[in-house]
């Protein structure tokens, strides 16, 4: 479904990603592991079309290099930021409606329940009054409602408690069951057990990629042996 070929990203004269190759299949959970600063977020945002890059990205066999963010979204790719944006004046339900394919209130209520939030939150504003954890779950709900083919989730597990961690893991598994491929970015090896495959990024380069257990061993032993 997704094929990244020799991807290089240069920002402010610095090579953030160098010749990265990555492949993932439909409805697969692929974990992108790496220590801080390894280039995970840059790769995610390049796939979404936020950063320009050298190399090629193919989605369902089609070269998407020339497509903008929203054109890629309309093909079925979406991204949830590590720190979700806040929107003044926009209610949670209105925000979710933007993404939702099935725009019925019943569907919104089901999904908001699935991510462990109360129905009443639908009528809150996505402003300063929601906690970071609530925003992350709302973002996850927006992604589920969009029913994308590929969801890129940037550290949905950062800054959340253990209970929410388990819930988010369950939701990601559910997304897979519903046919969504998930590119999951994390530097937590605890998330690895829900993945099918994984890739380790280190100093902007892929140092391992393959079945999760093999990559897990390597990550535990040496998460980033390369120096920038």
């Amino acid at each position: 479904m997704l094929k990244v070929v020799n991807l290089t990203v240069i920002r402010d004269g610095r090579e953030i990603l160098k010749n990265v190759n990555l492949e993932m299949h439909a409805a697969e959970i692929h974990l992108l592991l790496g220590v801080n600063g390894s280039g995970k977020t840059t790769l995610a945002q390049a796939i979404m079309g936020i950063y320009s890059y050298e190399g090629n990205i193919f989605f369902e066999g089609k070269n998407i290099d020339s497509l903008s963010v929203w054109e890629r979204a309309r093909l079925g790719i979406t991204l949830a930021f590590q720190e979700p944006a806040r929107f003044e004046g926009l209610l949670v339900k209105d925000y979710l409606m933007i993404s939702a394919r099935n725009k019925s209130m019943g569907n919104l209520e089901n999904v908001i329940k699935m991510v462990g939030l109360p129905r009443s939150i639908l009528f809150h504003e996505i402003g300063e009054n929601l906690s970071g954890g609530e925003r992350k779950r709302i973002e996850l709900a927006a992604v589920i409602l969009m029913q994308p083919k590929l969801a890129i989730l940037d550290e949905p597990d950062s800054g959340i408690d253990m209970l929410s961690f388990k819930l988010i893991s369950e939701v990601i598994k559910k997304m897979k069951e519903l046919g969504t491929g998930v590119l999951l970015i994390t530097h937590s090896e605890d998330m690895i057990d829900i993945a099918d495959t994984a890739t380790i990024l280190c100093s902007g380069k892929v140092i391992a990629s393959g079945p999760r257990d093999e990559v897990k061993k390597l990550f535990k032993y040496s998460p980033c042996p390369l120096k920038r």
């Binding site: 979404m48 963010v69 979204a73 790719i77 979406t78 969009m146």
Partner: protein, 316 residues
């Protein structure tokens, strides 16, 4: 109602409805209401606790609205000020007197659908009695030509424990030239919130001077300005709060989004003349937040659609 007035009334009501107004309120005896087209009063309705009187003045209309002491109602007062012709000047002088302990909401719509050279001057005095509460919500619906000059001026005086909230909204059509001049004086424990939300386009020009004078002890004031400007629109905003009373609290909060060749200038002014007063401010002017924009685009909205949602949210 003579035939000409009836026709004008019906036309205005049609625009009032299409601009989101509740036209049923203009026909119901439960709602106090007033409808003015140009400088002619087309209809008015007083209720048990709200008395509305009007008279012609040299170049406009003078209206007095008196809310009886202790009168509280769930039915808002509906005001509809319109100018249906393309050109002309409307001047409305209003005096609102809210008796002690009363609690009333006003919903005002100002409608200039065909404006090419219209001037709308609103000169209001508001007296909020002890422990009374007035909420005044004014929404403008201008045409697309931008030929409107709007000059709203309000002086409000809020007695002990009273509360005055005003919101002034221009979101649809062209803003034209808007020159706001609001000033509120607060006594002990009185509160006030002044909200302005305006969308400027093409060569619209918006000037706003909003002040809250915290005269009383424990008085609280908030000036909240939200603007979005695109094309060559310009804005100059001064939000001013002066802390005079003991433990008075004032805050000025201005956020503006600018796009294209627009120009925005915001000057929050905070003055304290009492060491026990606290006055604060925040002002932010900038382009559309990139993270908000990308988040919406990653859900499949085009850049234009995403900007519109962000702007409408800010002005909501």
């Amino acid at each position: 109602m003579d035939e000409i007035i009836k026709k004008e009334f019906e036309s205005l009501v049609k625009y009032y409805e299409s601009s989101g107004g509740n036209s049923r309120a203009l026909f119901s005896k439960d709602y106090a209401s007033m409808v003015i087209n140009g400088n002619r009063v087309l209809a008015k309705n007083s209720t048990r606790g709200i008395l509305i009187s009007t008279r012609r003045i040299k170049d406009g209309v003078s209206a007095k609205i008196v809310i009886k002491e202790g009168f509280r109602t769930k039915y808002p007062v509906h005001l509809c000020f319109g100018m249906l012709p393309r050109e002309g000047k409307q001047r409305i002088k209003t005096k609102i007197i809210a008796g002690a302990g009363s609690d009333v909401k006003f919903v005002a719509h100002c409608i200039f659908p065909n404006a090419q050279k219209i001037e709308h001057v609103m000169d209001a005095e508001v007296f909020v009695g002890k422990d009374a509460k007035i909420e005044y919500e004014e929404t403008h619906y201008h045409g697309k030509s931008g030929g409107v000059i709007v000059i709203p001026k309000t002086r409000a005086y809020v007695e002990e424990g009273g509360e005055y909230t005003s919101s002034f909204v221009v979101k649809s059509g062209r803003a034209g030239l808007i020159n706001i001049d609001f000033e509120v004086h607060l006594s002990n424990r009185a509160k006030s919130t002044l909200i302005s939300k305006i969308y400027g386009k093409e060569d619209d020009e918006i000037r706003a001077r909003e002040s809250i004078i915290l005269e009383g002890d424990y008085s609280v004031g908030l000036i909240k300005t939200r603007m979005a400007l695109k094309d060559r629109a310009r804005s100059r905003v001064i939000g001013k709060t002066i802390g005079l009373g003991n433990y008075s609290r004032g805050h000025v909060d201005c956020t503006e989004i600018i796009m294209d060749d627009a120009y925005a200038e915001a000057s929050p002014v905070v003055i304290a003349k009492n060491p026990r007063a606290k006055v604060t401010h925040e002002a932010a002017i900038g382009s559309v937040d990139k993270k908000q924009l990308i988040t919406l685009m990653a859900r499949g909205l085009s850049e234009e659609q995403a900007i519109e949602i962000i702007v409408q949210g800010l002005l909501k």
